[in-house]
């Protein structure tokens, strides 16, 4: 008889954090992986980066005080905060001991390294997309701060490109720091070669590819929060029409950002798609 799974895996077993610059395809990723029989991928919770950053603040600012006056060692604090984060996902994980939970808050990327230290068994998915397409999509958003001011990265092309550059830089550093625990997924590969891309992704997660993943269109899904920005495409087929939407921004790419595009394999401005449906 197999060993019963730990219902609250305190070190992040069976937990996967997906992240990337917003508008890079996290919701498409959810749409594709959620039909898998052993994957739970719900809407963004926003919680992993908040809890990881809080843990880091406690550890760096209060660690000495806690050790001296509260007999609280750094490992005690890590375990407590790890238990808090994993405990929030306990129910879906406990429902099926073979299930992997993917949490896909895009800004997880800002805390990949902290999450990697907080949960040494957790895995990570770094979703990247052509920065010009990301910037074009960001510029279509109406995202505002608490004072009603539109964010610079949804208002100006240079700020949108810089936002993508900064977040992909954090993601690339995390790829170094978390080598072996992190898998990069290119949005363009999801669109052009979905079957091969999902096969590689599920293998990274220790799972097998399931055909249901490609039959997402029409499958009921409730998008929440910023996910709703993806509603227009949510049941659309995977076509190359999704790629190259930001080509017009190519003229505004700085040498620094050009270098990042090159490093991620986006050297040439994408040619207009032939608008054919892509097979899995």
């Amino acid at each position: 008889m197999p060993e019963p799974a730990d219902p609250a895996p305190g070190d992040g077993q069976r937990l996967v954090f997906a992240g990337g610059c917003p508008r890079s395809g996290l919701t498409l990723l959810r749409r594709l992986v959620e039909p898998h029989s052993r994957i739970h991928c719900g809407p963004d919770t926003g919680l992993p980066p908040a809890i990881a950053m809080q843990w880091q603040a406690f550890a760096s600012q209060l660690g000495d005080l806690h050790a001296r006056d509260f007999d609280l060692r750094a490992e005690d604090m890590r375990r407590a905060m790890a238990g808090l984060l994993t405990g929030l996902f306990e129910v879906p994980l406990a429902a099926d001991p073979r299930r992997v939970l993917i949490e896909k808050t895009s800004l997880n990327i800002a805390a990949f390294e902290q999450l990697g230290r907080l949960l040494p068994q957790a895995k990570f998915i770094h979703v990247v997309r052509d920065g010009r397409d990301v910037a074009a999509s960001l510029l279509d958003r109406d995202w505002r701060d608490a004072n009603g001011q539109a964010y610079p990265h949804v208002s100006r092309a240079d700020a949108a490109l810089k936002y993508w550059f900064d977040l992909t830089g954090i993601g690339l550093r995390a790829e170094q720091a978390l080598a072996g625990r992190i898998h990069r997924v290119r949005y363009e590969d999801l669109v052009k070669r979905p079957r091969a891309t999902l096969t590689a992704l599920t293998a990274f997660l220790g799972l097998g590819y399931e055909p249901a993943m490609l039959h997402f269109a029409g499958r009921p899904v409730e998008l929440k929060g910023l996910e709703r920005d993806s509603l227009p495409l949510i049941n659309s087929a995977l076509t190359q029409r999704r790629i190259g939407t930001g080509a017009a921004l190519d003229a505004q790419v700085t040498p620094e950002i050009r270098g990042r595009l090159d490093a991620l394999g986006y050297a040439a401005a994408p040619a207009p798609g032939r608008r054919r449906k892509v097979r899995g």
Binding site: G42, P43, D44, T45, G46, L47, A50, I51, Q54, A57, F58, Q61, L62, L65, H66, R68, D69, F70, D71, L72, R73, D76, M77, R79, A80, M81, G83, L84, G87, L88, F89, E90, V91, P92, A95, E222, K224, G225
Partner: protein, 265 residues
């Protein structure tokens, strides 16, 4: 809930420089309660819990099977875990006295339904005068606004008072006055220890708290030296010599109404 810290923990709070360190010395003298210096994690965790409940509970509930009670239980367990080493070392009931706890007493009540919540109130003008004499800096080394600006300090005092006032109907909330502790410690300590279930012997030790106070703990506490001395009333009314007319006007603009409501002005 079964607590790793034994009996339900006690939470102490108040505006900074209101007497929470004095309360620590008093409850520690009981021998049945252990109160460390400011742990400084509970307000941050409560704030996080409040944010999650406000902004993310719909998603957590619908897609992750986590309702408000389960969320609160998770945060309570985390705080309990963080306090447990102190309990394990001493065997005593744990109290936690980070001043900003008071700003989150409503949340703490949801996390710890049985916990005594102890608020301490001091004349806002004395609080501001004391804050302006502190050299407190933020994580980037910059002086904190509440140590530089009488208005900012008064605002924090008002927020703290209002947070305590929201607990007045809670049967397990007790509000103490610093001035009463200083001028009639026997009565005020009696109120506190009755609420905490402590006996007369513990009260007697608390009245002699200075003899029991470990000033080496809590090296970052600004009041440790003073609290190591017997209680006296010399710090009451310090604002009259420490604050100028401009600062008093700033305080009055922000906190005048609350000061008058509490009988301080």
């Amino acid at each position: 809930m079964q607590y790793a810290v034994g009996k339900s923990p006690i939470f102490i709070g108040g505006a900074p420089r209101s007497g929470t360190t004095l309360l620590r010395a008093i409850v520690n003298a009981s021998r049945n309660i252990v109160c460390g210096p400011e742990m400084r994690v509970i307000p941050a965790l409560c704030h996080l819990a409040e944010q999650i409940e406000t902004s993310h509970l719909d998603v957590l509930s619908a897609d992750y099977g986590l309702d408000a009670d389960a969320l609160n239980a998770r945060f309570a367990k985390t705080i309990d875990t963080l306090l447990s080493p102190l309990h394990a070392r001493t065997g005593a009931r744990v109290a936690e006295k980070t001043p900003a706890n008071i700003l989150h007493f409503s949340q703490l009540r949801r996390l710890f339904p049985d916990s005594p919540l102890i608020g301490i109130v001091r004349d806002g003008r004395d609080v501001v005068a004391s804050l302006l004499s502190m050299d407190w800096r933020d994580s980037k080394g910059r002086p904190m606004a509440i140590t530089q600006d009488a208005g900012a300090a008064a605002e924090l005092w008002v927020h703290s008072i209002q947070a305590g006032a929201r607990m007045h109907d809670d049967p397990n909330y007790l509000e103490l006055r610093y001035e009463h502790l200083a001028t009639d410690p026997e009565r005020e300590i009696g109120r506190l220890f009755d609420k905490l279930g402590e006996n007369d012997a513990a009260k007697a030790r608390a009245l002699d708290h200075a003899r029991h106070f470990d000033r080496s703990a809590g090296q970052s506490e600004s009041s440790a030296e003073r609290v190591a001395q017997p209680i006296d009333a010399s710090a009451i009314g310090r604002w009259q010599r420490d604050l100028d007319d401009r600062q008093l006007a700033q305080i009055d603009a922000v906190a005048g109404r609350v000061l008058r409501t509490l009988g301080y002005a």
